[in-house]
Every structure is written in structure tokens, then in C-alpha cells.
Symmetry: C2
Subunit: 424 residues, 2 copies
Amino acid sequence: MEVITTEAFLQQKNTRSTQLDVQLDDVVQEIIREVREKGDRALYYYTEAFDSVNLENLIVSEKEFKEANELVTDDFLSALKQAKSNIKDFHEAQKEKSWFYTKPDGIMLGQKVTPLERVGVYIPGGKAAYPSTALMNIIPAQLAGVEEIVITTPPQPNGKVNPYVLAAANELGIQTVYKIGGAQAIAALAYGTETIKKVAKIVGPGNAYVARAKKWVYGDVAIDMIAGPSEICIFADKSAPPSYIAADLLSQAEHDESATSICITTDREVANKVNSEIEKQVQQLERKDIIQKSLELNGRIILVNDLSEGFQLINSIAPEHLQLMIENPMDNLHAIKHAGAIFLGNYSPEPLGDYFAGPNHTLPTNGTAKFSSPLGVYDFVKRSSIINYSSSALDKATNSIIKLANTEGLTAHANSIEIRKEKR
Amino acid sequence: MEVITTEAFLQQKNTRSTQLDVQLDDVVQEIIREVREKGDRALYYYTEAFDSVNLENLIVSEKEFKEANELVTDDFLSALKQAKSNIKDFHEAQKEKSWFYTKPDGIMLGQKVTPLERVGVYIPGGKAAYPSTALMNIIPAQLAGVEEIVITTPPQPNGKVNPYVLAAANELGIQTVYKIGGAQAIAALAYGTETIKKVAKIVGPGNAYVARAKKWVYGDVAIDMIAGPSEICIFADKSAPPSYIAADLLSQAEHDESATSICITTDREVANKVNSEIEKQVQQLERKDIIQKSLELNGRIILVNDLSEGFQLINSIAPEHLQLMIENPMDNLHAIKHAGAIFLGNYSPEPLGDYFAGPNHTLPTNGTAKFSSPLGVYDFVKRSSIINYSSSALDKATNSIIKLANTEGLTAHANSIEIRKEKR
């Protein structure tokens, strides 16, 4: 990987944007229109057109669930259960309570927390299986108290759904899985069809079609985020083992060619050793071609003069995953303003967080950690304000409210307060 | 107003949607492109084109702040200060803390809460003044710890900014106010110009151009919500004074013709009396024409058989403002699933919440209370997950993580865990 300075890196970095890709948008908008107009019929049509599958039914049957459970190994199920338990533990701590307080004169103010009623989880298909997506998206929704959670995922060429995804769904008690992928799945969840009920929120990752469809339906339905390619940023000083750093960069790069793997280091020797470790380790890896292409495109080692320059650079990148492989990482946590997840020390590699530790792996990408959070229980509830004034409390507020309403030219607002004064 | 049944109401209700208005979008997208390309020059150009003002400077000067403060009355300032104090009190209770927990073997997991760095608040211009918008959008951001908050608002024909808005900004300690409105203001906040720095989040209401521009820049920058016309839903039984109900419906209707004012009642006599009260009160109101048009279009009284039918209807509407003018409203709070703000009893009219009580007046409209919350301190922070494993803790997790990674076909992920095992 190229070893460069902060300055050179910032010059290379082009401002990425989610602005229009006109051609993609035309296709996606047509799909959305068709699904809204034709319902299930459009879903069957697009599944044949895009997934080359002639579905008999949109919903995974009980028999298919059973078959899937027989296909997966006990090893897998046991690992899945352990991950589930860790993810539950962590997300329990995110639960929010309703609250209220009172003031003299009979004033009660508060905030009521209510779960969303129905949530749709999109799980990508394709060659790889994504049972971890099911865990990470469904567990926080369940903890929030969402009554109805459905999965939608594209069918494999044989018309079935990936057995690992089904086994994960089953482990979580999810009974409704639709065999629909792409923009058509997003449209169906957003607007409903004969078979699929409209949901309040759509979560889960997907390809470019899914991402654009989510942007289009946003507002009519809530969405989690529009995720871009995955990113890692490792900040290492001379205390960090170069072989670990290399392995972690490689693990990020295997996601796809557009994944970004960055190492920031204060130590030139670390930079050099990481590079030779990468050369060595990559030879053994199955996804070697993707990795090499990805590192060439978006892999960089950035040499900084000191920790402070590194922290500043990290905050300007706002990485999805940040590994702090420096001495006393906890003491430096205050310096990190923007990152999706922060992994501390030499024994907290990103895959630990992807699958197992507990915090969510759905994280803000592409610099959006400057304003977004990991997926969490808070994404599956909403709040209502509570306002309860007594007659005497309103009386004391009357003059101020009328003054403010009149200033804004809203005299009927003033009247609504005034009338309560006259009548007492 | 028409008195109808639940069934008739649900048939009338057309599904509103934020889908494309192609012509508006063409204009808005061109404005965004121009601002991104030409920066300040485009801002001056559009301000002349749309606001008929030839600006000398984009920023409100210290002198203009002073002039504004001299123009507003002490009455107004004192009401503003009282509202500010109430809003602060309520939003204080929304503050979130970072947290962590530990597990045996040296595991530490947590969530770090960090404020957004820079926030832009859009305040509409036009004939009316909106000092309350400044309070409601800025106070939660300040409590969240946002370092830099800027306002943008369209100039009046004389090239100045509304003095009440400036006085409110001043009271809150905001020093940067831009004289820019419309889609061009949103584009400038989202992408930055020579004068205006890019922000992390844009909040505040606006006209159709502002709303569409917010939808377009969403993803490159965070936004609060895409607000539709304002709505009130009053649920009244025979204990509610018809004159109060009428006054509150009228206050909603004066916002604009597309505002929605709905009364749901279990009592036909209440329905009839509300109608005659409306006839009487509307005669005295300044914005009579807007009100009458609005009530004709979107005003309805819905007669329900019992409380339970009423609650079900309310949840299907998911109103922005809900007034529960029934006996023992607090005992029935559990039945309300979806509403932006809930006003309890006969002495908690909506204008109390618009200006004064403390909870935010930026609320989810158009049924989005099914998945959205009032604006709050939580909108101005984001979270980062913290993961810290010791060598021995990772050791115990090794097999499970490798199993899950291999199942997903990600062998470089497995390698990142494996290598740490070998090296110990």
C-alpha cells in the first residue's frame, strides 16, 4: 500500500456524495411505481426478471424453515446463540424509559416512549450468507418492543432462501420471511401489497438498487440509513503488532473492491512492516483478487507526526470502524469525536464487532459518523411529548403566550388562550 | 364543519405521499447544483431573483443586531425569556450520557455520546415572524453541546432580517445569521460556500422549496424531518367545553389553508355546539379567510361510538398535535400509540405547547408520528460504540467468531481472529 502524508491523503480524498445517479434512479423509480400500482404481481415479475426465479409463493413456508434448520450445523447454531446473547446484553443498555416531571400549580410534562408497530428487515442475498445481519437488525427491534418484524431477502437460484439466514430468523422467533429482494422489496415494505403489509421503518443493508429505493421512499416510511461501502481506519503506534494490523486491513478489504482500509501510524517502521505482512498474508486468502484490487484503490498508510495529527485526521474521516492500536487507548478516547465504532487495543479487531461482541455492526459509513449513530434500540422507538397544565398554571402563563402569539401574527392562537381566561 | 363517522372519514382520507413533484424538483436540483458550483455568487443571484433583494453582505452585522434589539418591546423580551427557561428545563431531561459496562476477563463495552460539531437552523421569513422557531431549534442543540450553531433566514424586502428573530438569536447567544432563504440556503448549509461553512445537520421548517431541498441533500448531511402542513386532533367527550374546542380548532386552521383540524367526539351535542362556536368565534379573527378555507378543505368533526373507537382512529391518523379533552385523560394515555405531542385536559391547548410549556413544537406531521419523534436533544448528538477486549477474552470467543465468519464466506475476517491466537 502507498505510504503517504496527511496532506497528500486529504488531497486525494474526493468528496463523495449521494447525489443523483440519473439512470439508476429512473429504473428504481419505475420499480417503485409498478409495485405501488400492481402489488404482488409486480413482485413476481421483478423476481423473475432480476433473480431468474419463478416464485410459487412470496412467503417462506414452515417446511422451508424446517429444512433450513436441518441443513445448518450445531457448531453454527451454538456460535449464533452466543452472539445473540452478547448482542442482547449490549442493546438492553440502550432501552429508553418514558419519563415525566411535575411543577407547582399542577403542571406535568413528560415524554412517552412507544415502539414502532411494524418493521421490515432487508437481508442481502447473493453468494454469501448473512445471518449476522438478521441478529444485528432484529434484536434491537425486539428489545424496543416492536410487535411485528418481517424479513425480506432475495431468493437463491433454486427459489429458496439461504438456510443460515432462515436459521437465524428461527432462532429469533421471526416467522415471516419474504423471498423478495432489490428495490421491489423496499417498495413493497414502504407501500404494502396484497401479501406484504406496509411497515413503519425499513432497516438493513443492500446493493445500489436497495440503497436508492430507500432514499426514494424515505419520508413515507422511516429508514435506518443509506449505507455506503465499508471502511476501517486503524491508528497504530510502535506498540501495535504489524501482523495484526495487516490482518485487520485485509479483512476489511475482502468485503468488496470499494471497501476502504486505512492505517494511520506515527511510526515509519510499522508502516513498512504492515506492508510486508500484507504481501505475505494475502497469498493465503480466498478473496485475494478482491482484496488486492480494493487495497490498490482505497488502501492507504498515512504517516503522521504525532498522536494529535492522527486524531485530527480521524475526526475529518469520521470512519465507520476505528481501531485504536496505540498505548493507553482509553486515555485518548476523549480525542475521538466522530466514528461509528471504536475498537480499543490489540485484541479488539473489527471482526469481533462484526459478529460477536455485542454492539451493532450496522454503522454510519462514508463520513456520516459526523451526524449518525450505530443502529440501536433508539431506532425502533419514537417519543411523544406530554403536556398537562391546570387551570391556574395556564392562568399564570396567559400573558406571555398571548404576547408571543400576537408577535407571530397568529391571533387565533391568542384567542385559544384568551377564551380560557374569560370563561373562568 | 362536516360531522361524519369514522368510516366516512377513513374513506375520504387520501394517502398523502412525499413522492416526486417533478417540476419543483427540477428547480430545486438546479439551485443545489448552482450553489455547489458557484458558491456565494449563486446565493446573491437567487436572493435577488426570489427575494428581490440585492444583498451587500450575506451575514447580519452587529449593527443590525443592535437595531433589532431596540425595535422589540420589553414585554416581548420578557415573554421570550420565560419561554426560553421552560424550554431549557424540559430539554435538560433529554440529555444522554455516555455509558459503559465491564464483563469478566477484561471486557469493556460502551456507548460514547458526542455532540454534532456544526448545525444550521433554517427560520422561515415571509410576513410573519418566527422567534419561537429559533428557541425550539436552538435550545436543544445548545444543550446537546453543539459548538457552532448558525441561523439562515430570508431577508425582508428592505434587506434586513426580522427583528424578533434577531432578538431571539441574540437572547440565545447566536452570533451568525445569514440572510439567505429557500433551497439556496439549504444547499449552502449542506455543501458550504466561501462564506457559509458546511454543517453536519440542518433543522427548521420551510416552504416547499426548502422541504424538497432537504430531501435532496439528505444523506450528505443530516436533516430533522420533512415537515408537512400542521395538524390538530382533539378528542372530546361531553366534559369538554365546546368553546375551547372551537378556539383550538380555529387556531390550527389559521396556519394555512392546508392545515388540518379534526375533532373526534363521542357526543353529538358537543359536535353541534363546536360548530356553532366556530361560526361565532371565526368572525372576530384576523385570518378569517384562511381559517374558513382551511376548515372547509380539511376540517372534520368525527362522531365515534365510544372511547375505544376514538383511540383506534387517533392511532391510525398519528396526529402531530393531540388534545385529550376527555375525563381522566391521564388514565387513558396508554391507549395512545402515535402522536407528536399529547395535550391533556381542558387547560392544555396547543398554543401553550407552540410557544411556552417547554416541549418542542417541531413535531412529526402527516402520519409520521408512527415512526418519528419531536425534535430533541437526541437530534444533536450521535453515538459511537466502544469495544475493548483483553487477550484472554478474545481467546474464549475465537472459535465462535471464526465459525460465523467462515459461514459468511469471509475468510480474511477469520484470519484476523486466527492470527491473534497463533501469536500468543
